[in-house]
Amino acid sequence: MAETAEASEAAGRAEPRGRVVEGLRAYRLIAAMWIRSTMAYRTSFVLTTFGNFAMTALDFVAILLMFSRVDALGGWSLGEVALLYGLSGISFGLADLAIGSMDRLGRRVRDGTLDTLLVRPAPMLAQVAADRFALRRLGRVTQGLLVLGYALVVVDVDWTVAKLLLMPVMLLGGAGIFAAVFVAAGAFQFVAQDASEVANAFTYGGMTMLQYPPTVFALDLVRGVTFVVPLAFVNWLPACFVLDRPYPLDLPGWVAFAPPLVAVACGALAGLAWRAGLRSYRSTGS
């Protein structure tokens, strides 16, 4: 009896650090349940995992086919484009693996199942993020790693310590930026439940755009993904540093190292949007 009371006390304590730990714990528990659920249909799991891998692989095959007809795209060679592709794919894949089901939020609002999550003693963001957790999404990460490996073999990089350090930093920063976009898109669905597809424009659309060199796109589009939805920090700017290429929009050299900062800032904004969205749901019930 005393133990139960204690446990409820602990769960109720509202320290921010406690919330994060609680959230991660709930995330782990729910994600584990989803993994077990998918294993109930093994054939389908194998097929979807393979499908995920094949889908992304064919995506790259399309680029290979393009380069079977041309030597460069926007002045970038196949190896360099492969580098962009790999970085974009891994960053996006990690974010997609972690919280890729945020687009189901609108459906949960519509059918009322969101309420069943609200009566659980766990932070909502963690519960929604872990919803439909799917290991098959590792397919994209794997494929991204393979393409990145290929790129690093083919491209002649003048490696320095800074460049080596930048590689993992940009992958994690990039995943953070994409994750923030996922969360913001989720928050938007509290307001417009049917608009989940808008998120695809920024997530899948953003990832596709980042697979190609910035020199291909119109300047306004490049400005948009640098200053409005700062996806350029995922791979374009750091990759320009690694490849010793001129930066788009004449940006200063240090921006290549900004991805973690940009990720934190985006995360904070997305977090605020999420809180506002949840508050509006709890005040309107729709």
Binding site: L47, V61, T208, V216
Partner: protein, 268 residues
Amino acid sequence: MGVGSGRLYAAVAAGGFRRYATYRVATAAGVFTNTVFGLILVYTYLALWDERPQLGGYDQAQAVTFVWLGQALLAALAIGGGGFEDELMERIRTGDIAVDLYRPADLQLWWLAADAGRAVFQLLGRGVVPFAFGSLFFPVALPREVSTWAAFLVAVGLGALVSFALRYLVALSAFWLMDGTGMLHMAWIAGLFCSGMLLPLNVFPGALGEVVRALPWSSLLQAPADVLLGEAAPLGTFVFQAAWAVALLAVGRLVQSAATRRVVVQGG
């Protein structure tokens, strides 16, 4: 089948149309997303054709048109999924399909009618705006003759039929696989890659190009596009599409009767 059942399927089709028409916000969201994807693709194609003018026999304007055509037809022809197949699979999974089998209507025709209604709505609701946007802001190659536009619409209709036949087969796989998500994913991939959505099929090199152009998925995007761009003779294209449609629909019927026997044996 008399006039009465014709009326029934028309009503089902109208229902399919209306059902999608109610989701205005979702439609607007889809239009936005198609437009953004069109923008991204169109710049990569412009760069590609800058590098190699006349690549695959298209000039730059034709390539740009192909991009926006793809975005316009993506939802209507359910190239990346998103039609009736999720629902049909869910009904098979939950066993509700047994109810459908007792309806005085043909299962395949019923879903075909519903999907046709959806396709027409999505062609209008989701296709027109991105295509108009692309035509306004980028150099496109559009025919002047009404007859070409008419032939294009016929090719789109036949493409929708092939698309339905393919997805119907995929959905029926749920009778044997408890969870058909995996099949669904594989079908989307095949659809996106082999229809020309990722890259026009005429850009594919050598034997690979020959093969993908002979597969049914080329009926979805490549065939209507080539008719509109004046790169393919309409009649030959129609014959190709119709042959695939008839073959796939027939296979669908065979699979359907096998599946129905299965349901009867299991007692629903």
